[in-house]
């Protein structure tokens, strides 16, 4: 399938604000391909984000776009979806936005299993504010607020989403560009909360401090880290040390929130 990115981008909105080598642009192209694959009618598609470099993504896309406050995207999106369940709702944002300040909204959206697709760009850092550590900055790494190395343990976002009740959870990296759109498309088709975690890179605030000499090096790290779930099943535990599993990590059929609420309405109306 040939993709026509131009028709998805709002006229006059490029160039974007992202630094050269930033992984967020790769994710945006993946999201466009996924929306095209699913033939989403952009007039009925809400793309909701919080605050951060990743959260600037919706502004470039020609759809019903909502750039909210730091961490609150999932909660705004819940309001949109509840009020108009016939809309397709996509949430996008960063690791800090989604799992620190917005962690509570994230897990509760997962718990409700509300039908939306959450594209979470995990670049291991607070990019926009200049590289402070996030709940996903690897322990020991340097950030502007961890000059002696990060003492904090990390969140495994995908595990968190599964634990919280999301019925579709997948993970890939910005290196695996063609897998991004496939997983997002699966997430869009899935009825329920779909979380697609995409590990990407922030050369400007994370790469620089952590001795990555180039974006290529950062991409190579992402490539080396990734082990597809099927392959991982055949590997001994020691081979999986420091690796992350990619692909569809979890998928199940379970009641979706707006459908459940439609039943509430029926009961209230005495049907």
């Amino acid at each position: 399938m040939a993709y026509d990115y131009d028709s998805s981008i709002r006229p006059g909105k490029l160039p974007h604000i992202w630094c050269p080598g930033c992984g967020h642009g790769i994710v945006m192209k993946g999201l466009i391909r996924a929306m095209d694959t699913c033939e989403l009618d952009r007039k009925n598609t809400a793309i909701v984000s919080g605050i951060g470099c990743a959260s600037r993504l919706p502004g470039y896309l020609d759809a019903c776009t909502l750039h909210t406050a730091h961490g609150r995207a999932a909660a705004f999106a819940t309001g949109v979806k509840m009020a108009k369940p016939e809309m397709d709702v996509i949430v996008c944002g960063g690791d800090g936005d989604g799992t620190a300040i917005g962690g509570n909204h994230f897990i509760h959206a997962c718990r409700r299993n509300i039908n939306m697709t959450y594209v979470l760009m995990n670049n291991f850092i607070y990019g926009m504010t200049g590289g402070q550590f996030s709940p996903c900055t690897p322990t020991g790494d340097k950030a502007s607020t961890t000059p002696y190395g990060n003492p904090d343990p990390i969140f495994d976002i995908s595990k968190l989403a599964i634990g919280a009740g999301a019925s579709f959870v997948a993970r890939t990296t910005a290196f695996h560009a063609t897998q991004i759109d496939k997983l997002i498309a699966e997430g869009i088709k899935h009825k329920g909360m779909a979380v697609i975690e995409i590990l990407d890179d922030c050369p400007t605030t994370y790469g620089r401090r952590n001795k990555f000499r180039s974006v290529v090096e950062m991409m190579e790290r992402l490539k080396d880290m990734a082990v597809p779930v099927a392959a991982a099943a055949k590997l001994p535990a020691e081979k999986l040390e420091g690796k992350i599993l990619t692909g569809i990590l979890h998928q199940e059929d379970k009641p979706e929130y707006t459908a459940q609420y439609a039943e509430v309405i029926k009961k209230a109306q005495g049907a």
């Binding site: 502004g59 776009t65 909502l66 909660a75 819940t78 309001g79 949109v80 509840m82 809309m87 509760h108």
Partner: protein, 377 residues
Amino acid sequence: MAKKVALLQGNDACAQGAVYAGCTFFGGYPITPSTEVAEVLSGELPKVGGKFIQMEDEIAAMASVIGASLTGAKALTATSGPGVSLKQELIGYACIAETPCVIINVMRGGPSTGMPTGPGQSDVMQAKWGTHGDHAAIALVPASCQEIYEETIRAFNLAEKYRMPVQVLYDEIVGHMRERVEFAEPGELEVIDREAPSVSPEEYKPYDDTKGQIPPLASYGSGYKFHVTGLNKAADGFPTTKAELVDAEERRQIDKVDDNVADIEKFETYMTEDAEVIIWAYGSTSRSARYAVNDLRKEGIKAGLFRPITLWPFPEKQTAELAKQAKAIIVPELNLGQMVIEVERVAKGDCKVAAIGRVDGEPINPGQIAGKVKEVL
């Protein structure tokens, strides 16, 4: 035909008013003394095909309300004290993104957990200045169950008309007391819906004020694709840092209220024509003030009551006129001096201004007010 009447708690009256106004979305989080608003609406909204959602906290509740409003729904949240504090950032978001919504604040004491089951009126300045940045505010302060019903409807009307959040503040006393409430017949009270765009989706700009101070708001999912952000923005809704655009936008958002005070203001006067002393009181405190006026009149003291029903924008004109007419204005409030600061500002020394503050969880009684009047005169 006999009117439908009921003995209703203030919070219940609020919920009934919301339904009359056409509210179809409530996002909330339980907190005393506001919880009954949510409880009633969890039953009522699905009956009319509306949605009720109990969110994970008050921030989420406010977020869900704004999200729902952008799809065209009339959306409401209700909370108290700590919950209002949590909502502040997103109240500012609703201001700058010009998203209609209604926030009910059933006031209790504070700061922090304070006295959850006691009344307070200490959030009145917060209603104006709570969120960061310059912004306009509309806040209504009903004083009876009937008035809560009607002012909730008016709050939705103002929110829709002026494209902004409107707060309704009443204290625990009014929220929890029961009074006779007369329900309006359909069509009896005005119900305003936001203006829909008259231009095509291609031409639509969500903040284009060339045809008026309040740009029409399209709904998500109605054929219009547009961008909403909390950043300063140009008419097309996209972020800008151009000084002249930011300045014009900020000022328009404040002017839309300042220029329409006559439409937004609402107050009641009681025996003020010849009054030498004015009791300037709102909410439950105004009920005691009315008794005080009657008692003082019996003693030959020319007292009168000024009762704002719209608290923000502040009733400047009326307060200034009363300050010229009277020897003194007494401001009783269940806080340690908030609206009295505004009264002093506007009175400009034309008369004495004195405060009565109470924060012990008890109401201000008529005797306390009458005593202060005699002390000041």
